[in-house]
């Protein structure tokens, strides 16, 4: 986005996010929801919309929706119902989508997240609602559209979705991306969805327009819905592009929200542009009405309480805990939380097994994450257990290992799981030097380096550093930090 543009308009964004809920079976039938099955093999009379077939709602989908609603601070409806949204499309076999119109399962809520533009600051997106609905199938169109028939795969038809609709509270592409990132993190912590954007488990549509200051008053550009945002990067790029496009458009046409209806654009990721799909005029009148094949749903307070108990700690709560209880820096806490529940649990176990939080944090950041990324492993696959890492950290704190030796041990453990610190030192020929030995070593050093001693006495505490190298020569296992401390003591006692 050009500087001039950036300074001259305010982007207004609201997001509609479709999340695939992690159920075994579809929303209204027993077909599997697994991704990647051969086309039209996960279908039955119900999800094919065969004449006479009837839907029966999936209990688990309802539970997951409630769980998500609670985590998003939503009011959960005590009474909710199903409605038909009528429109024709080949991947919608009934000619209507079973959705929720005027009584969604989750009412108003909100989500807080870090402001990407000013670290440490929080932003809040208010949520209008979150409702359950069935997914449509997949249409595969000919590359050169219009040449060949389109192919329809209905495996995805009837998969449970939760549509989370936000207020237009976002003010930049970066903020939109940050909100989505936090939302996905929360959903994966809840385990309500795998949020795999490549597989379509998390899909975002954005409603965008600009507020432009002109002659002391604010003019709004026509609202555009941008569809087909299937990566975080796409969201950010598409919104930046669309903001600029609307700005240019406004400068050219001067059209405001009063002059033009809402339009739908698609994001073309390859070309990096948004493309007009349809004008709102010829968009459908959905003729919602209660689905007579399904009965209303009543949610009891005990049902609600049960779900509430199963919520667990939110990423936001964990960040705070790591900063307050273990006083990690916000950045360090963020990195750990950002790695997901597993890494947080790993970190907690290291600390619980006696590793100091600060060291635990840096070991997780450097060594553990390196292992995860190099071998792209799951945390559960890391050969070094939290307990082992805790021992290693304690050994280092106790001084019988320096950090570089510690890393050797860690590396050794990767190839030899389940060994103890002692085993590792043994195998690596690391001997910890006992205090007496080290003291005489230091006295030798001081005797041999009167110049350094005098510099120190003159107040140059750094001078001792010069001795480390020599010490290492005398005994490679000597811990530099202990050498320094000991020498200092000896000199001070002499004074």
């Amino acid at each position: 986005m050009s500087e001039s543009a950036a300074s001259s308009y305010q982007m207004i964004v609201g997001l509609e996010v479709h999340v695939q809920l992690a159920t075994q079976s579809k929303l209204f039938c027993g077909c599997a929801t697994k991704f990647g099955a051969p086309p039209n093999t996960q279908v039955c009379p119900v999800c094919l919309g065969q004449p006479g077939a009837l839907p029966v709602m999936n209990k688990e989908a309802v539970r997951l929706a409630i769980q998500t609603g609670l985590a998003l601070n939503c009011e959960i409806a005590s009474f909710t119902k199903w409605d038909r949204k009528n429109y024709f499309y080949p991947d919608l076999p009934k000619g209507y989508q079973i959705s929720q119109f005027d009584e969604p399962i989750c009412g108003p809520g909100y989500l807080d997240f870090d402001d990407p533009e000013s670290p440490g600051e929080q932003l809040r997106v208010r949520l209008i609602r979150a409702h359950l609905e069935e997914d449509a199938g997949k249409s595969m169109h000919d590359e050169e559209a219009g040449k060949a028939d389109s192919r329809i795969d209905l495996n995805r038809t009837g998969t449970p979705l939760l549509e989370i609709v936000s207020e237009p509270d976002l003010r930049s592409a970066a903020a939109a991306r940050a909100y989505l990132t936090e939302l996905r993190l929360l959903l994966t912590y809840l385990g309500v969805s795998d949020c795999n954007m490549q597989e379509g488990s998390l899909r975002a549509d954005a409603n965008v327009n600009l507020h432009i200051e002109k002659g002391g008053e604010i003019v709004a550009t026509p609202i555009v819905e941008v569809k087909n945002l299937n990566s975080f990067r796409a969201v950010e790029r598409a919104l930046d592009y669309e903001g600029q496009r609307q700005w240019d458009d406004w400068q050219r046409t001067g059209q405001t929200i009063k002059d033009a209806p809402k339009r739908t654009f698609g994001w073309d990721d390859a070309r990096g542009v948004t493309v007009l799909q349809r004008e709102k005029e010829d968009s459908a009148d959905y003729r919602y009405f209660p689905d007579p094949d399904l009965v209303p749903l009543r949610i009891s307070s005990e049902q609600l309480a049960n779900v509430r108990d199963s919520l667990g700690e939110s990423p936001r709560a964990i960040r705070e805990r790591l900063q307050t209880a273990h006083d990690l820096k916000p950045y360090d806490a963020e990195v750990i939380v950002g790695q997901g529940k597993g890494v947080v649990e790993y970190f907690d176990q290291v600390v619980a097994s006696g590793g100091s939080a600060k060291r635990a944090s840096s070991w997780v950041h450097q060594e553990v994450l390196r292992v995860l990324n190099d071998g792209n492993l799951e945390i559960k696959d890391v050969p070094v257990s939290p307990k082992q890492l805790a021992e290693l950290i304690s050994a280092i704190d106790a001084g019988d290992l320096d950090t570089s030796k510690g890393k050797e041990v860690f590396q050794f453990w990767l190839e030899n799981p389940g060994k103890s610190v002692e085993d590792a030192k043994e195998a690596l020929g690391i001997k910890s030097v006992d205090k007496g030995e080290l003291e005489s070593l230091c006295r030798e050093l001081l005797a041999e380096n009167e110049k350094v001693v005098n510099q120190f006495k003159d107040g140059n505490t750094k001078a001792l550093g010069a001795l480390i190298g020599a010490a290492k020569k005398k005994n490679p296992n000597a811990d530099p930090r202990m050498v320094r401390d000991l020498c200092q003591q000896i000199i001070e006692n002499e004074i």
Binding site: P39, N40, C44, K59, K147, R151, L154, R298
Partner: protein
């Protein structure tokens, strides 16, 4: 209320139905008569009366999240006007 030809044409578009202009005339007349017949409903005072979408007051009928058998693909596709053994085939969405 009375229905205009345009009303009828608009509804036909929504319903994905095509009619000749004679048919539209006929429907405008017939639907018009039916609509004015059902307009009798306005004589009934329904102040404070709830809508009744279901004849029974059954609630919260749910199933466990368990897998059931899907159809064989051949059965799923067997009634399709056009299919290739894997997919339902439809004419392209946009012409070229």
């Amino acid at each position: 209320m009375s229905l205009s030809r345009d009303d009828v044409a608009g509804v036909a578009k929504l319903a994905k139905l095509q009619f000749s202009s004679e048919e539209i005339d006929q429907l405008t007349d017939q639907l018009g008569r039916i609509v004015s017949f059902v307009d009798q409903l306005n004589q009934v005072d329904t102040e404070g009366v709830d809508t009744m979408a279901h004849p029974l007051d059954v609630e919260s009928v749910v199933r466990e999240d368990q897998l059931a058998d899907s159809l064989d693909r051949a059965d799923a596709l067997k009634n399709a006007p056009n299919q290739d053994g894997e997919f339902f085939l439809v004419p392209p969405v946009m012409a070229k």
